[in-house]
Amino acid sequence: MVGSCSIILHGDRGTIQEKIKVANIRKGVNVMKTILKKMIFFIFFSLFSLVMINAHAYAASGFQGYAIYRDGVFFNYTWHAGMMDGPYYDSYLPVLHAPGSGSYVKWDTWNNFMKGNNFKGVYRPKRQPSSSERDRFVALGRKLRSEHIPYTLIYQVNYNTKTSGTWVDAEEITQMRCDGVVEYIYEWYGFRVYGHDQYWDVTKNSAINRDHHSLNLVTPKSQTGYLSKVQSGVPKR
């Protein structure tokens, strides 16, 4: 079709009517070219989107499984911590956190996490987790959410040392602080955050390990010193 048109276009001899006809055809071809360009762009965009959707379907995407912090707690004496459940700040209920007394570990909106304070950054464990590992972080976070775990001021992660197994699983946790959510998820999978060489794993059932992660020995703000900063800005797409 395009080929046959180009034969006519190259014939510039003939009557005015023929010239008008040629001009109209030329106009038509331009429209067709534009449509063709749009179609190519649309097909390319669709393929690209498909690849992106597939990538999303098979592994953690965006900032999922990374820890997030904001300031504003008691003149910045400390911060508030959470974990990205959704890929970006504008995803549906993107944050998993322990908001405080009277509530429990839950998903929340970005605004409810921020409460009008300043964002302090996205963090990850020192050892870079793979996409599959970040998948695990998100999945375990979802398990914590289903346990309706209340807040505590004393321990990052509280449990009964007498009845828990060797490793404290999500069902055995009795209370959690906001930084405990991050510490527990990362350390359950062997990503060390805060702590002495012997007592760093907050998921190991031991009164010493539990007490080692308590009160102001570690706080949400000081916890970031044991992580790597991914970026200072809000986790945008």
Binding site: V73, F75, T78, G100, D135, R145, N158
Partner: protein, 365 residues
Amino acid sequence: MRGEFLMPKNVKIISLIFCLSLLFFAGIASANDIFKKYADKDEETLMKDLAALSKKQLIEEMDSLAKSSEGTGDINALIPFATELFERKDEISDEELLTYIKNPSLSPATRDFFVELYVAKHEDGNNLDEIKALLADPEVDKSTKTSIVTTAHFSPDDVGILIKLAKSDNGLLAFHSIKVLNSLDKNAANQLAEEILSNLNQSSKIELEAALKSKAIFLKTAKEKDQNYENLEKQFIQLNLDILKNSNDPELKDTAVFALSDLGSKNALKTILKSEFIDRELKVFAVDQNFMTLKRILENHPTREELNLVIQAMDILPITDLAEPLKHIAGKVKELDFKKKIEETIANIEKNGIKGNEKWLDHAQ
């Protein structure tokens, strides 16, 4: 003519509002004073200042901050106060702590902290009778009772009160009471779960969540003992599938998946991986938690259907522990297409796989 000596109704209301406002702003002012007092102080100076306060001052300041922090998510502001009070826990008697715990004028956060402090003082689990007695006290609110249930240590002697609490509530108090019962008396917890699940439409979603968890724990222990296990498992899987299909509540649906995953059985895992109603993250969790179930399948002359289950699982979360057993099987498979499928799975595990987390085995049967 009594009315002549009484204030008109509108004057009363205005006076009441005025008094309440005064109290409210006094509270705010008090919290603001504390903020001002500690503004711009580094952690070391702040802790020194707190150490210089009397016990009474510390508790008053902490409670004032707790009240101003309610609903703001800034409860972490209490950490330095909690640290200082924890240091002085032996200076606070049990009687004093019980008075604070029962005092409704203190904020819920302060009362919860004193529950924790009481239990921390009795870390060995002994002498908790007085705080546990509050569970039967009608004057103590549900939130404080929930805090005691989640924090204190219980023994088989406490089964009665826990059952009573579970039956008297349909929210978090019931949820956590049933959860404690799971470790104290699985049969009692299972009986409560049966009652809740037999009244699906009348039970609250939190009661249903507690019941699904209890049922999963009960079935897991019944696996070896109960001859009717296969039938019980089948019914439980169907119940969870029905919840997944019919419920609009995301937390209840998640709990149904976790309950299936907790069973640790091949059938439950197959159900999760096949279901179109289950999010990928939850499938990741099930594969992660049950990697040893999958490994055992491979080590026990798997059928083609079982191999397909493992292949599907490894596509969701490749785990390196399964690569060797799969290689062993691939060497025996004669059908070229299927062999190729297994080899592709092995290649994916070798490229993207992660080590299985043996912490899960702590609770596996």
